[in-house]
């Protein structure tokens, strides 16, 4: 396996993009990545596209060749491959693109992620994304994705004394960071009180504990590290890309306060990258539900089990400690177009490692980690990227 570098990045505005089509946003992000990486589309080997539910949202399946076509590349007859893994679809597409370049099967690939979620009603969209949990043994009894995460939160509070305000601290941080991110879905700041008093979705989680349904697309251009300098002055190496899966239903997990899939993917990724959590300066953590961010920090080894609440209270990941999280605004405030999320996380890490993150810049960022979850943790993807000096 050879080393793989990120040569270019692209991303659209996230939000309710009523006036823009799926094709438009997919192409915009992809071309930005190609232009950023100074690669001719003639040299592309393949396109990977993370997308969760275009059929349900848009009544359009088979979207990978569709994006390829409207990008003007149909006559190149490239392979175009859609990847689905619930909320981790984009991260999984990146994993597939990484493997393809690492193996030598292709030299250059574009990995895109795109989702258009606001063409249907909120109710319909919720029904579609709930299906990333177990339809037959969870949803049929009245569960929703936020309800399942709320049960993780309740258990975590019971076991470890985590407080309601500890959960709320993460959305507050995310909104603050997103206020500095022009592409973010939400640009407004929120207070701890606003999060705690937001309308209850599933107790103890309120509306402001839950990421929005967004439209948006993101893309990266990957190529072999050995020739990366021909295409960019600031290549970023993919030091690790790891996936781990677990039981579909939350109630079948070994421990309801731990995502074993995240813990295992994290352990494998740190091992592959030969890094440890304290080596990471910037991390994009899946906080589609605030409790998810806290649990992830524990499962990835950034804090000991049960101490994420304390870390939130201390602001340990909000400017004080060695690792800063969700400088993009996270899923909560940058937005959550399901298929695009995992790619957008890595786009933000590349900005940080290049020193291009403007007023969100973490000084001296060298190593970044992205973490993305499907459902309630049946899939986790962990990616570690590293600045090449």
């Amino acid at each position: 396996m050879r080393d793989v570098a990120i040569l270019g990045i692209g991303m659209t505005k996230f939000g309710e993009l009523w006036d823009r089509s799926f094709r438009e946003i997919g192409i915009e992000a992809g071309f930005q990545a190609l232009v950023d990486g100074k690669l001719s589309s003639r040299d592309l080997g393949a396109l990977y596209l993370g997308n969760m539910a275009s059929g349900a949202f848009l009544e359009q399946e088979h979207i990978a060749p569709l994006i390829l076509d409207y990008a003007g590349l149909a006559s190149h007859h490239l392979p175009a491959i859609r990847v689905e893994a619930g909320g981790a679809s984009g991260a999984m597409a990146l994993h597939e693109g990484y493997l393809a370049v690492a193996s030598g099967a292709y030299d250059f690939v574009v990995v895109g992620g795109a989702e258009k979620m606001t063409d249907v009603s909120d109710t319909e969209a919720s029904r579609i994304v709930d299906a990333t949990a177990d339809t037959e043994w969870e949803l049929v009894f009245g569960a929703t994705l936020p309800a399942l995460w709320a049960m993780i939160a309740r258990k975590h509070m019971h076991e470890y004394g985590t407080r309601r305000e500890d959960l709320a601290a993460l959305p507050v941080h995310d909104h603050l960071m997103a206020s500095k991110n022009p592409l973010a879905h939400f640009r407004n700041k929120v207070s701890l009180e606003q999060v705690i008093n937001s309308g209850i979705v599933a107790d103890p989680l309120g509306l402001l504990d839950c990421a929005p349904l967004s439209d948006g697309a993101a893309a990266v251009l990957l190529g072999p590290l050995e020739s990366a300098r021909k295409y960019t002055d600031t290549p970023v190496k993919i030091a690790a890309s790891q996936v781990a899966c677990d039981t579909m239903a939350l109630h079948h997990r070994r421990d309801l306060t731990t995502l074993d899939s995240t813990a295992v993917a994290g352990t494998r990724a740190f091992s592959q990258a030969r890094h440890k959590p304290t080596d990471v300066q910037v991390a994009e953590i899946d906080d589609a539900y605030s409790i998810g961010g806290l649990v992830a920090l524990e499962d990835l080894g950034f804090v000991a089990k049960g101490e994420a609440g304390l870390a939130m209270r201390d602001g340990r990941f909000f400017g004080k400690g060695t690792t800063q999280i969700n400088t993009s605004g996270g899923l909560k405030a940058q937005g959550r177009p399901f298929g695009a999320v995992g790619v957008a996380q890595v786009v933000e890490l590349v900005r940080q490692l290049r020193g291009d993150a403007k007023d969100r810049q973490v000084a001296g960022a060298q190593v970044g980690l992205a973490h993305s979850v499907g459902g309630t943790g049946a899939t986790s993807v962990v990616t570690i990227v590293e600045r090449v000096n």
Binding site: L139, V140, F141, G142, A147, K155, D203
Partner: protein
């Protein structure tokens, strides 16, 4: 949800019929054809036998849902829990017959047979298990005991049978 897809799992939802691995004796719900516990999974192939859960268990964690799942809008706010059965398997279900604020981790519950939701213009009604505090549930029909109030689990998927 399409009717056939729901009805296929109906016997389990009515009767809490699970399975037990005859190699290592672990109990599963819903039933599995391969045992995840046995180190060599293949050795359990063909050696899983039906196993009836009693319906007794304990709340492991819970939430009160205010933004309903599809088809549950009429019930909000409703209590949802993960219950560990006395036989071992954990499952997700609603908790009824108590005020949501009285729900707590460790509460002893018993499965009770209920209407889950109505669906579509035809008003198709789905049935299955919910949980109730154990003393409350003692009077209610229990899954797995051939309750007269419950449509029999073995019926073919006919929409008309699912009407109120």
């Amino acid at each position: 949800m399409a009717i056939a897809r729901f009805w296929r799992e109906t016997p389990r939802r009515y009767n809490l019929g699970g399975s037990r691995c005859t190699v290592c004796t672990t109990v599963y719900f819903p039933p599995r054809s391969v045992c995840p516990t046995c180190t060599t999974h293949r050795q359990s192939l063909g050696k899983m036998e039906p196993f009836q859960l009693s319906g007794d268990g304990e709340v492991v964690t819970f939430t009160v849902v205010h933004e309903a799942a599809n088809g549950f809008e009429m019930l909000v706010p409703y209590a949802l829990a993960i219950v560990q059965t006395v036989e071992g398997p954990l499952l997700t279900g609603q908790v009824v017959n108590l005020r949501p604020e009285d729900l707590q981790i460790g509460l002893k519950v018993r499965a009770t047979f209920r209407k889950l939701r109505e669906e579509g213009p035809a008003g198709v009604i789905h049935y299955g298990y919910k949980f109730a505090p154990k003393e409350e549930a003692a009077m209610a029909p229990r899954p797995g005991r051939g309750s007269e109030q419950a449509p029999a689990a073995s019926h073919a998927p006919e929409p008309s049978r699912a009407r109120a």
